[in-house]
Every structure is written in C-alpha cells, then in structure tokens.
C-alpha cells in the first residue's frame, strides 16, 4: 500500500467514525458533553498539528549545528594539500 493510500484509508476510517458519532447515526446517542467535544475535534487536531510542525521546525532550525571547527580544519587541510600536491608536480 502506498503512503498516500495509507493516509486516505486512515482519513476515511477516522472521518466516518467521527461523522457517525457526531450525527448520531447507528442509533448511538452520545451524551451532550461528549458530542460538544467531538464535533470540533478535527479542526482542533489540525491546528494542533500545525503548531507542532511549526514548533518542531523552529526548534530544529535553532539547534542546527554550525560546524565552525570543521570549516577551519578544512581550510588548513586545503593549504596542506595544495602544498603537498605542488611538491608532487600538480599544476593548478
């Protein structure tokens, strides 16, 4: 099953469960407080997911490791390599 198919399946399953419960189909009458929470749940989850995404990406950008040492080391190694290669006869 492709990832897309998995997502569609999950949406259909959860969506139909939510619709059935909020509209009282299948003869199920949920107590009022339950329905009041259930009805806006998809919207609430969507907003939460959005916040989680922003928060996670923001955190990861902020903690993105800057390799200053690696850059410095590389520059000095480039000098070393150029000197060595010139000695061996390389013409740049």
């Amino acid at each position: 099953m492709t990832k897309l198919a998995q997502w569609l399946w999950a949406l259909v399953l959860l969506g139909s469960a939510w619709a059935a419960l909020t509209m009282g189909a299948l003869g199920l009458e949920l107590p009022s407080p339950c329905r009041e929470v259930l009805w806006p749940l998809p919207a609430y989850l969507l907003v939460s997911a959005g916040c989680y995404a922003l928060g996670t990406v923001g955190y990861r950008v902020a903690t993105f490791h800057d390799c200053e040492d690696a850059a410095r080391e590389l520059q000095s190694q480039i000098q070393e390599a150029r000197a060595d290669l010139t000695r061996r006869g390389l013409r740049f």
């Binding site: 492709t2 990832k3 996670t56 990861r60 950008v61 490791h65 390799c67």
Partner: protein, 209 residues
C-alpha cells in the same frame, strides 16, 4: 593510506567548465590508475547514469558516493566503514541532522528550507532515516546496482528515492553524523525551481511508494 583500507577513487566529470578534468588527469598520473581513475563524459548526463558509469569500473565490494567539492570530507569514510561493520548494514547514510552532524555556510533561510523540507518528508514518507536528501553514503556494491535499476527520479529526489526503495526492499540502513561545509568553492544557491521540483518529486514518491 594510513588507514590500511584498500581503496580506489573514481572521478566522474561531466565536462565541468572549471578545470576539474585537467586536475583529475594530473592526479591520475601522480597516484597511478589503480588508485585514481578518471572516467569523463561528454556532457552533463545526470546522477543515476554517473553512478552506473562509475560502477562499471569499480573493483571493490563497497561504494562510497560523495560530492567532490570538499563539502563532503573523506575523514568520515573510516567512520562509515566502522558503522557498516558494526551492524552489517547494506547502506550507511551520512546525516547532517542528527548527533553532532551539521553544516557550515548556511544562512537562516537555507536552514529553514532544509529543516522544513526534511520535516515534510519525514511526515509523508516516514523513511526511518534522518537525512533523506544527503548524498554522502556507503553502499554495498550489489545493493547500489539494484537500487539504481529501480530509481527514476532526478536531483535531490533521486537521493530520496534511493532510500525509499531501499526500505521497500528491506535493506538495512545505518547512519553516521557528518559535517557538511558548503560554499568552499563557488556559490550555493537554492532557487525556486529546485524547491518546486523537490515538492513534485516528494509528492510522486508519496503517491507511488
């Protein structure tokens, strides 16, 4: 040479205008063709075919793919090898996002795009690998051959597709943190075009794998 690892280097040059071919030819003379092999091509033909071209002449059992502009540092190769032995992995992937992996030379915008794209990729593809667009990897030779046969995308998406297909085929993948030093030579630009084709490629993989 100190590491005692048996190696050869194969350079694929697609007519780079910056003199790469000349330097590579000289290096081949200096170190000998059993150590350095230059396999040039007429024009820019794409990554997948470059890998195939290189493999035709490779005599080893494992292949390390890396960029030649010093953004990928060879000092990580022994770590790749060690990791591969540790878990007998089919693939070892360098990651900029985990452990003490990282980058140098990226501004805030570039980091944001990188992390954002990686996040979307993780959510949609759940690849089990932290850096999907990286191109510093060690492959078992047979594994690389099989994967290339199956992959059809280009550019960044090609690197992603390799990992996704590898997962599908139940290959094992290990990770090693690497530092990616960008813009040592030349400009590093990430334009709107690349972003669009990345998203298109991502959605294609999402819908077909």
């Amino acid at each position: 040479n100190f590491s005692g690892i048996n190696y050869e280097i194969i350079i694929i040059d697609d007519g780079s205008p910056d003199g790469t071919k000349d330097v590579a030819e000289q290096l081949e003379k200096i170190y000998g063709p059993d150590k350095i092999l230059l396999k040039p091509r007429e024009k820019k033909l794409g990554l997948g075919t470059a890998y195939i071209h290189g493999m035709e002449h490779a005599t080893g059992n494992y292949i390390v793919i890396m960029d030649a502009d010093l953004s990928h540092h060879p000092k990580f190769i022994p770590e790749f090898i060690r990791k591969q032995k540790e878990g007998n992995f089919d693939i070892v992937s360098g990651t900029r996002y985990k452990g003490n992996g990282g980058v140098y030379g990226w501004d805030l915008k570039r980091k944001l795009i990188s992390r954002g794209a990686n996040f979307i990729t993780q959510v949609l593809l759940r690849p089990g690998v932290s850096d999907l667009t990286g191109s510093f990897r060690l492959y078992r030779k047979e594994v690389l051959q099989k994967l290339i046969e199956k992959c059809i995308s280009k550019g960044y998406v090609f690197q992603m597709e390799m990992i996704v297909r590898a997962r599908q085929m139940d290959y094992t993948i290990g990770e090693v943190p690497i530092s990616f030093v960008d813009r040592v030579y030349g400009e590093s630009k990430l334009g709107g075009n690349e972003i669009v084709s990345f998203l298109k490629g991502l959605l294609t993989l999402f819908a077909t794998t």
